[in-house]
């Protein structure tokens, strides 16, 4: 086959796609490992966490995230597509009535933001939100 510019482009984009797909599960399992460190593999319920994240973030350098979990003592945030999935861990004191916090985070690309909350009775809750990122926030 004659290697034209067009076939080269097709080959290289196909290769890029393949590596992209291959990289995704690796990141996801990193996140799972970090989550398991916190929960110790315990079952996680759903529904108690309100995780507010934009559907589309134009700038991955500063994505506003709000998390609210009534009755939680601790909330950990993870971004499963970042080089390191940990984002932040909030511990709430007795003077925090709503157990909510908002901050701004960096996202390397389109991915899921996952929140894990530890409730007052020791059980765990999980919630996640998909954020589409136009420009990644990891620098070059």
């Amino acid at each position: 086959m004659e290697l034209t510019r067009r076939t080269m482009l097709a080959i290289s984009s196909g290769a890029a796609l393949a590596t992209g797909l291959g990289a995704l599960p690796a990141f996801a399992s990193l996140t799972d490992d970090e989550i398991a460190k916190i929960t110790g593999g315990a079952e996680m319920g759903e529904g108690a966490i309100t995780l507010t994240a934009p559907e589309i973030a134009e700038n991955g350098n500063t994505v506003p995230i709000e998390v609210s979990v009534p009755g939680a003592v601790m909330v950990a945030l993870f971004a499963d597509g970042n080089p390191t999935p940990n984002v932040a861990t909030f511990k709430f004191g007795p003077l925090n009535p709503t157990r909510s916090a908002s901050t701004r985070i960096r996202l390397a690309g389109t991915q899921n933001v996952v929140a894990i909350a530890q409730m007052e009775d020791g059980s765990f809750q999980k919630a996640s939100a998909n954020v589409k990122v136009t420009i990644g926030g990891c620098g070059g």
Binding site: V87, A88, K91, P94, T103, G137, C138, G139
Partner: protein, 109 residues
């Protein structure tokens, strides 16, 4: 980065006893993630604020562990209940060992 770090905090001046107020905090800090490279391709070492604590009259309101995924100029908004007049104390801990502190009085009225 011990220079040019300026904490800014927004707390109401007065509140009713037992009222829930919203606090906003911002601190200027470049939060170098450790992932970026300089023009020569050498990694720029990580330099972030790794912990933020807010207390009211010695009782904890929120205690946050920050990772490199927190944006430049870390911003936090959270709620606090004000049982009596007193002082909110905010503390940020830098990777380089610096500690930045600021406090705000609140009166009952």
């Amino acid at each position: 980065m011990a220079s040019g770090v300026k904490p800014r905090v927004k707390v109401p001046k007065t509140a009713a006893a037992g009222e829930t107020i919203t606090i906003k905090t911002l601190i200027s800090h470049k939060m170098e993630s450790g992932q970026r490279k300089d023009d020569d391709g050498n990694p720029i070492p990580r330099s972030i604020i790794n912990r933020f604590v807010a207390d009211f009259n010695g009782e904890n309101v929120i205690d946050v562990v920050l990772e490199p995924a927190i944006s430049t100029n870390p911003y936090f908004q959270f709620d606090a209940v004000v049982p009596e007049a007193g002082e909110f104390k905010f503390t940020w801990y830098d990777d380089d060992g610096s500690v930045y502190e600021t406090s705000k009085e609140i009166a009952i009225g």
